[in-house]
């Protein structure tokens, strides 16, 4: 049986004027189907590069990347960091774009998109343009767009990174609800350890650049998890300790 995402001794990086910058160093990672794995690491360590390699946007120097057993070629839905919605399309139009990416969409898909927005509490905003929405709403639309693409593996790059603490907590609950209903494989990059602990099945800690996996924390706890609960706080502490160790 193959996993949803397999990285085998992947080395990757970017050419710069000062020479090749190595970002991932023999990084190996296995993500099972329908698993939620969160990736944390010191800033600039290569979390985004890990996603770009998995999405097939960046070819690794060496090693192997497999998405459902194949070389990545459009099998993943990737949500880039920052504002990635098309500003000239409404929320509904942006959601639909996820299917238009694969070809023409019919009336049925449009109805489906509208129901999708309704199901996850965005019906009132279907006709709003991104600039008319709050930051939290925009990220909800962008997340739903990623879920609406007909893909089983989702790669989310700091989807809640730019939000204030309150909105962030609200969106974490909301995102968990969406995921529990749609059951897709998720790889989430975040710098918020607490977020990683309350959402995922497993937390992967990366070393500073060039990155490989420093530690893995399986979380066998039922959801939803309380941030204030002792088990969450204990895990948070040990993950932060792992991060700090690698920072030295």
């Amino acid at each position: 049986m193959t996993g949803a995402l397999e990285l085998h001794e992947v080395c990757a990086g970017y050419p710069t004027p000062k020479g090749f910058l190595s970002v991932l160093d023999r990084l190996s990672l296995l993500v099972e189907k329908e698993e939620w794995v969160s990736v944390v690491g010191p800033s600039g360590c290569g979390k985004t590069t890990l996603l770009r390699v998995s999405a097939g946007l960046l070819r690794p120097q060496s090693g192997k990347v497999l998405v459902f057993g194949e070389v990545p070629r459009g099998q993943v839905a990737y949500m880039p960091q920052g504002e990635s919605l098309l500003p000239w399309r409404t929320a509904l139009g942006n959601i639909l774009a996820a299917r238009e990416a694969d070809g023409r969409v019919d009336k049925k898909t449009k109805r489906e998109a509208l129901e999708f927005l309704e199901d996850f509490g965005l019906a009132d905003f279907a006709k709003s343009f991104p600039h008319e929405l709050s930051g939290g709403m925009r990220q909800r639309v962008a997340l739903l767009r990623t879920f609406f693409a007909k893909r089983d593996l989702l790669l989310l790059d700091e989807p809640l990174g730019a939000l204030d603490a309150l909105t962030r907590a609200e969106l974490q609950d909301w995102l968990l609800g969406v995921w529990q209903r749609l059951k897709k494989t998720v790889v989430l990059v975040t710098h918020d350890v607490e977020e990683a602990v309350i959402l995922s099945d497993r937390v992967v800690v990366l070393t500073p650049r060039p990155a490989h996996v420093a530690a893995t924390f399986p979380l066998n706890m039922t959801r939803p998890r309380e941030k204030s609960s002792s088990s969450v706080q204990a895990l948070r502490a040990s993950i932060l300790a792992a991060l700090a160790r690698k920072n030295l």
Partner: protein, 247 residues
């Protein structure tokens, strides 16, 4: 309220300048073959209206065709230089060169090649228009934030569809700023083309009137040209607002 005030101010400025002009002509008793008074120009504008209208329609047709042709070529060059990077550097001297050459220098050549009809003027107008369109559209394509495209690239969307869904729409405002610049310059280009060799058009009318010292008619033609330029600018702006009203 604010727009109305701005309009009244503009009107007042124009009225004042025309008043000064009229006063100078009357005070110094300038003959109309040296400088016609604005009242005389307006009179001629009324008397020659059908003549001016006819020649203006020819010029407008040349500019319209030139604008269309220039926009199509400009778009093609913009897209080509975006996707074929080595071509960008190779073409730059030619692109810039085509703008450095004075219109007066090439207009006679175009007349030689394309005859005395409207085509040499269309060619001149197109040559002027294509540059701002190409450069602006290329800038628009290049300034796109990569996040907008990466979502689709990861989904394996073919580049052709990404162009029509993302890149093209994102670059449209840039295209329009190129067109706006081009539209007014194209009018100059077409008129110059008519000066060099034509039997119709506002430029031709001005040359003829000038030779007969009918400066009132020259000024009336300039008035029409100004109106055409404003009209074109407004039409391009209108198209832009209609197309981009949702942003």
């Amino acid at each position: 309220m604010k727009r109305k005030a701005e309009f009244l101010w503009a009107l007042a400025v124009v009225g004042f300048l025309l008043g000064v002009w009229e006063a100078v002509v009357r005070f110094f008793r300038l003959p109309p073959y040296v400088l016609p008074s604005p009242s005389r120009v307006f009179l001629t504008f009324g008397q020659d209206f059908s003549l001016l209208f006819y020649h203006a329609s020819v010029t407008l047709a040349e500019v319209g065709l030139g604008l269309g042709l220039g926009a199509v070529v400009g778009l093609a060059v913009g897209i080509l230089t975006f996707y074929v990077r080595p071509l960008r550097r190779a073409l730059t001297p030619f692109l810039v060169g085509s703008q450095v050459i004075p219109v007066f220098a090439v207009a006679p050549l175009f007349v030689l090649w394309f005859g005395f009809g409207i085509w040499p003027k269309v060619a001149v107008a197109a040559m002027i228009v294509f540059f701002p369109v190409a450069v602006n559209f290329l800038d628009g394509l290049r300034s796109l934030r990569p996040e907008l495209v990466e979502f689709f690239q990861a989904l394996g969307t073919p580049e052709r569809r990404i162009f029509f869904m993302v890149r093209g729409p994102a670059a449209l405002p840039f295209l329009f700023s190129g067109l706006r610049v081009g539209a007014t310059l194209a009018l100059v280009g077409a008129t110059v083309g008519e000066w060099v060799g034509a039997s119709r058009g506002l430029g031709y009318l001005m040359i003829q009137a000038n030779a007969r010292l009918r400066l009132d008619r020259v000024f009336a033609a300039i008035l029409v040209l100004t109106l055409l330029g404003l009209g074109l600018f407004w039409v391009v702006g209108l198209c832009e607002r209609l197309l981009l009203r949702r942003r």
